[in-house]
């Protein structure tokens, strides 16, 4: 083959492959290539109603938390990162709602992903987050749960079954109604 032919192949194939990859990623993630998304709008996604995959989380304030130990409570698992603006926006709401449900069988679990542990800790301090928060350094939990973007929340019923998956920053009303509905089940 001529030198020109080699250049066509050597340059053209990688270019086409890259464009195809980006196009595929765009299709498979609904117009959002590039993996994890920042969920700026509130959306409810379908979940496979099945038992929540158990995980063990290294907590930032020390100790570990096992999801299965929370059986019997309504659990909200929140995936977030300190650099994500919508996560910052909703942090005070979560803090407030956590206080509101004190005394009821409700637990919040924060899972920081794709973040620097130091930044995540500062964030927790800044916002005065009281519920257990841990760092999913390898992204294993996020993959298990099929997290598509942050913030993203999984609501687990008292029976340990994932009931709802909500993306984007939540309002007090949505959060309160969702938890109350699960409590009444």
């Amino acid at each position: 083959m001529s030198k020109r032919g080699w250049i066509v192949l050597g340059g053209g194939i990688p270019i086409l492959a890259l464009i195809a990859l980006l196009a595929w990623a765009s299709i498979s993630s609904g117009g959002n290539p590039g993996g994890l998304t920042v969920n700026t709008d509130f959306v409810e996604a379908d979940v496979d109603a099945g038992a929540a995959r158990d995980f063990e989380l290294q907590l930032m304030k020390g100790g570990t938390l096992k999801l299965s130990d929370l059986r019997g409570k309504v659990v909200m698992v929140d995936f977030w990162a300190s650099w994500c603006a919508p996560c910052r926006v909703e942090a005070p709401t979560l803090v407030k709602m956590y206080q509101e449900f004190q005394g009821l069988p409700v637990e919040f679990v924060g899972v920081a992903i794709w973040d620097n542990i130091g930044d995540a800790e500062v964030f927790i301090g800044q916002e005065g987050v009281a519920y257990p928060n841990g760092f999913d350094a390898d992204g294993v939990i996020a993959i298990d749960y099929g997290v598509r973007g942050i913030p993203e929340k999984y609501f687990i019923g008292r029976d340990g079954v994932v009931a709802r998956k909500l993306s984007g920053p939540l309002t007090e009303t949505v959060l309160r109604d969702t938890i109350n509905e699960l409590l009444s089940r």
């Binding site: 765009s26 590039g34 993996g35 998304t37 994500c84 926006v89 500062v122 005065g128 992204g139």
Partner: protein
Amino acid sequence: MADLGSISLWIALALAAYSTIASVAGKLRLSPALVESAQSAAYAAVLALLVSTLSLVIAFISHDFEIAYVAAHSDLAMPKQFTWVAFYAGNEGSLLYIGLVLSVMSAIAIWRSPERLKDALPYTTAVLMLTLTFFLAVTAVMANPFDKLSFVPIDGEGINPLLTHFGMFFHPPALMAGLIGITIPFAFAMGSMLAGKTGDEWVDAGRVWGIISWVLLASGLLLGSWWAYTILGWGGFWFWDPVENAAFMPWLALTAFIHSIMVQKRRGMFRMWNIVLINVAFGLALYGMFMNRGGSVPSVHSFGASSLGWVFLMFLAIGVLIPFAIFIWRYPLLKSARNLDSMLSREAAFLINNLLLLAIAFVTLWGTVYPLISRLTNDEEITVARPFYDQVNGPLMLALVFLMGVGPLIPWRKASLSSLRRSLLPPAVAGLATVAVLAALGLHKDYALIAFGLATFVTTGILMEWYRGTLSRHRGTGENYAAAFLHLIWANRPRYGGYIAHLAVVMVTLGIVGTSFFSTQKDVVLSPGERVTIEDYELVYLGSIETPKSNRTEFTSTVQVFRDGELLETLRTTRAFYPNFNMASTNAAIRSTPVEDLYIVPSENLPDGSVGFRILVNPLIWWMWVAGPVMLLGTGIALWPQRAPSPAQVPSLSRSAVRSRPTTA
């Protein structure tokens, strides 16, 4: 105002589209009048876009909240000076801004285009205007900043507090201008190729516009880092965030381009390579805009409008594949005038520098697309974070710094070993001595040692060049040393301007090494009167004052800094809470010296009056911010027009001299 802005936007779109078509048609049908009208349309588009921009600015100033964009990005409390920031704070406005910048740059490029590019200019104009047409069409149809709401809100949502920072006046506009600015050298290259002018005609215009985009991107990146450092409150400045990468990659390709274009300018070599480089730079710029507009990547930068992702992906595909096809078509014509004489030559050093820069760019590109590949192959998304980039790009960058020291010291064509030894030995000795001294002083971090050694190596080489040049000029002309030095620099501006830019790169290296390897961090909660020690500083927290402002509550904490029992400075640092955004922004107190920064940021104000502080000592980072102005100075000198030497001296012959000058020298 909304109507005026929108109408003038549509007029600009029509002008750009007309200019594209008329330019090509005029060229093909040999109608100079048509070509000229195409150029006039390009100039007129600037006016139309100025009217459009001004309408938006006035809408902001007059709080015209009927316009959705104004309502979403400003409120009554917003200080007037932030109008400029609000203008490009969102997707719609920033697209309008890009259109304006591209049209202004294009008009200047067309107007100042050298005579010998006359044949290629219609095609260049068409490429420029086609790009402009694309941006204006997207703005007008899909993201129109003049779209109206069905009602008029009483107040707007306000500007994102993180954006109300001095750095925001320059960081986004500089970056966006730099990214879109790559279109100009690209258009000159494409125009020349389409016209079959595959020699060195486009080199000067390409170089000048390449350097302009390069310096815009570099300033944008530095200002963005500075913004992150002073306001984001994590004490760092670079995260390898996908959008940071998106601006960094084209900058790397441009850095390669502005070096290798010098080889073509001086020696008529690397013709094909330069076309490839400018195409790669343009492609990476398009990729960067796609990343940004796709709203797709987890990033502090996303605009979050995913419907635009597809459009930009298509533009990326077109913007890469068509130039590639043109390149293949013209490939047989792209022969360099000369071949490489020797691997021991400045040309070869430039070539290796190019390859290293591209390697860094592709490592970074790989890091940004790797999550997609992993999803494709394992159905699992694995994101690539900082350690990957540090580990792979770190050594490549050090090698680059080394070459930066070698390149300027070896001659063009072929170096003899003895001349190499003469010019390289002193800087090498200085570099090794630095390593030895630092190691003896107890510094045992390999990377840092190598980096400091290389920094000395490069700096010594540059200073030696200056010293030698000044000395020989002083001897030859009898000027005093200061005058001889200044005249030396002025006499060969591209070269000495480049040296100054190199010094700026050394400064950035110092900053990166200092903070990456020697930073100390402490997170503490202090009550008024309590003290804490970090390194050899002693800090006393005096107390906080709470000040309610119209749109935020500010907590100003006062901290006294002592060293050896002596009061150095009283620092004030603020944390502001914006109820509208449920968001806090911090302003770090920084005591900055060339040796180290003491960096204090309040991360938390507790009800009992105590404050959680993050305190950092960041060595050498001062140099990083000083590098910005130094780099601007160097680039300014390198770009300052050099008068063509011959015509002024022999005016009567100039015309024939120009004509008889061989075109493929």
